[in-house]
Amino acid sequence: MALKIVKGSIDRMFDKNLQDLVRGIRNHKEDEAKYISTCIDEIKQELKQDNIAVKANAVCKLTYLQMLGYDVSWAAFNIVEVMSSSKFTYKVKIGLYAHVWICQEIGYISQYDTGVALTGLSCFVTPDLARDLANDIMTLMSHTKPYIRKKAVLIMYKVFLKYPESLRPAFPRLKEKLEDPDPGVQSAAVNVICELARRNPKNYLSLAPLFFKLMTSSTNNWVLIKIIKLFGALTPLEPRLGKKLIEPLTNLIHSTSAMSLLYECVNTVIAGHDVNGSPFLPPFSLALFLFLRFQLCVQKLRILIEDSDQNLKYLGLLAMSKILKTHPKSVQSHKDLILQCLDDKDESIRLRALDLLYGMVSKKNLMEIVKKLMLHVDKAEGTTYRDELLTKIIDICSQSNYQYITNFEWYISILVELTRLEGTRHGHLIASQMLDVAIRVKAIRVFAVAQMATLLDNAHLMTGNVQRKGICEVLYAAAWICGEFSEHLENPMQTLEAMLRPKVATLPGHIQAVYVQNAAKLFATLLKNQEGNTDRTAAQETSQLMIDRLPLFVQSANLEVQERASCILQLVKYIQKLQQKDVEVAEEVIALFAGELNPVAPKAQKKVPVPEGLDLDAWINEPPSESESEDEQPKAIFAKEEPKHSRARHTEVDEKELAKRREARKQEQANNPFYIKASPSSQKVYQEAPGVEHIPVVQIDLSVPLKVPGLPMSDQYVKLEEERRQKERVEKKKKEKKKRKEKRGGRGKKHDSGPESEEDITPAHMVDIVTEEMPLADSEKLPVRSHRAAEALKSPAEDGDAESPASQEPKKKSSKEKREKKKDKDGDRKVSVKNGNPTRETALWMYIYGAEIDIQGNLQDGSQVVVSVIFENKCDNFLKTMEFNVLDSLNSKLQRPEGSGPHDGLSVPFQLPPGVSNEARFVFTMQSIVMPQKLKGTLTFIIKNEDSSTHEKLDFKLHFTCSSYLITTPCYSDAFAKLLESGDLKCSSVRLEGVNMPFHHLLARICFHHHFSVVERIDSCASMYSRSIQGHHVCLLVKTSGQTVSIDAKCDEPTLLGNVLDEIKQTFSQC
């Protein structure tokens, strides 16, 4: 056994792999067949091995052989076996191998196969695949075709991501590709390395010289941009690099005409500068200076300044924000420019400018800038931008602890001004600023309190938009500040009244709560002031005011408000009692709110020394051990432990016992009339029941013992009913068909579809609507909707009546002529149907309609076309015994009643008195609809005079165009896109020159004559859709430019498509 294994593995060493096979075939040019047959024998041996790898190798070779045209079907099983092996990689590998080798073999053409394989791979690389394919892709990286190299290089990045170990071995080759002669490959390599370097720049420092060379030599802007970006990432790691880069970068800045490159250069310069921290180098400062001054434009590109490209502006601002971080001063000198950008109509630019402002403010210019911003706030349209401005103003002012604010009175007034903004969402932000400033800046309190008091007084201005959770938040701050610092109030009584207005009740709860609380504070201050006076009534009036107004808040729905209000109300009532006894209470009341709030710095806690002997890390109590806690867990709070345990024990009781009990229970249930048996069958039925409404819930109570309640029964009924209906339907259909057959040629066609086949009728409606909607002017005059698909009667004498079925226009005209002539009773050139007897003025008119009228019947069948024929008697005699006959072809047959022979004519079921016309329909069966058809036919009839009757014959041709097999079918654009996405359709296209008509006429014409419907139309481009009676999808894309119309078409049946396109072409060639 062991020997066998060893032998096997040794054998395998000599196994040919795919490479050997190809090489071998090449070397055996003379006796290729013989060589291959030996190879196949070997493969057969290999396939018998147990080792899946060997098998896979064999299958690889088989794939190649199959490509060469050898039959490998005998190995199908083995191939499936390998395919089904758990390793997906084998499959892909096989696929890829096949590609690679064919590619080398066939050379040029198949490089796209490999390309496709690689592109596909880029979508689904997994770590496994990456590992297994890394080597193969690496081989491809030095493929002879740059196209493959390019793709292989790019895909390596994905492989690296999934399988980082492959990076090390692949790196030298990747580096090699940087100097690839093909610019595409080069750019791909640069791309990959840039992406890699973004993740870990350190490892790529060694490549700097190479990139340096590339940067000076390459002319591809894309590559240059990438390299410069890469350098941007590298310079922070290697300061010397920055210095080295100066020269080439400035050269580029001066020489390039590509804005993108220029921008990246400047960007990198900035980035490089950041790190070095050295002062501006002369060329840089020049570039930067110009760049800033003219929003990114350097000397040579000054022309672009006037252009004022928004994109450049944006990027300029973006770059500036980078400079700002290190050199705020150089940016600050461009304040005017940036402020100008605030006026820009572009929001992106305005936002960028705002960002810049943030870093640009100083103590000197803050007020000025904010003033400008305030102006913008007033002007700004749209709340989002205004909100953005508002937050920016606050951000700018409050940054680094109000570092730049020299005058807080100014700031408070700005905040108050901001409260006048309509519909802002940042009331909360303003409120917190007010609180913050008022608490932290003691000197400002007097001013702040005065301002807040006016705010409270004018609260009604803000309460307008309570719902929007907006500015009324400010009242929260105002009330609190007025309450807390009430000693600074000039007119506390007025403020108190403002706070207790009934309107306050409309404010949000948390604000009301603050109002109530601070009203109390205010009350305390007031008492204190008033008690000092000699007149006590003032103090009592104040208490009375509180007692009068507070009940409003006691009734509040908000708990917080309610609680505070009732608490304070009781307090005030008590105070009033004391007041009536002439007791001085002010001191005590004020004591309730004594003490001052001090701002606490965020890091203040750290400064508090830890008391001696306090070890915060030590356990206060011993932590419970984990095992303990587990035991403790089930401890029930209510002593239910006992039953629980016993139950647990029960479950441990042996299986037998359990089974016994189950059995007993089942028995019990079975005997219990009130128990619904849960037999598996009933359950199943329940699930299968078509809907909830079928479940007769009530019946459960009524159920008889041991009988599964009504459910399955009803189900059965439903099924039975359905079956019955089905049967009926089939029968009806049969009948209908029969009827139709009997009635064929009769008129009642449209009525014979019973109510059952309603769905059959609907498409007919749609068809009708679509056709009738067509705004084809010249056709409107025609009494007939169309007549096509059938060649009108051809009379040899009638020279104007050319036999061109697809050309609708002349036919129409000719028919119009016919009509007119008929009206005139101009006998001479009346269209006579007398064949071979042109001089006689007779007899019959025949219009033949297209097939669309009864198409809904055909849809079901897929092979039936109905031809409607109008017979019109134009002579003075009676016509009778008309017989319609067509010579069947292999493909198309006239449907005849059962029992009649294939050559029998069909009698037209009516007679025609002079001047009367009537319509008859004939059904044809088509095998294939991909080709147009012409059928020859004859109509025989008898002309009856008073005295004699003559037998006449009329020859005609029926022309079934491919368009007549199409049915106008509406299609939604989503469905249309899905259809095209499927990729099953063949494409074909046609160009029409010299079409001189408006686009919508053109579309209408296609719709009308070829039964298409417009899916979507955009300007002079439209997509159209139609379906054949056999379900082929036909999609068109029609475009015009000038007099040229190009039609791209897709269909699952190329022949049909070709014919339809030909017909369309003909339609337009004759207009």
Partner: protein, 159 residues
Amino acid sequence: MIKAILIFNNHGKPRLIRFYQYFAEDLQQQIIRETFHLVSKRDDNVCNFLEGGSLIGGSDYKLIYRHYATLYFVFCVDSSESELGILDLIQVFVETLDKCFENVCELDLIFHMDKVHYILQEVVMGGMVLETNMNEIVAQVEVQTRMEKSEVKLSRPSG
């Protein structure tokens, strides 16, 4: 890297969507909607950059878009791509489409879905830019089209 390429029309109907990073399908739909919302309300004479939406990555992402007649071409990229470079790339892509479809129009994208994808594949592969030279792209696409046609011809007699 390019994270996604979205092409939709003025009504926000997606015409070509390509994600180079995995997103669940409903999230993709959300991204498309959000992007459309962001892009569509912008005037034509404003800049072509947008700080990315909230869904498709954070501050590192940018939307770079161009608006042509009825279509928006939106590329969602991270900071490793050059903004103006991508703008140029969009232009190259559109010009390539125009060359391949002659007077390209929105409906071409639906009708020639397959071909549009081929073209895109020649421009961007797996989120990385493959080729920026229009002539090169057109040449490759043309060769492939020719191949496809010859394949159809080959298969026609048998089928």
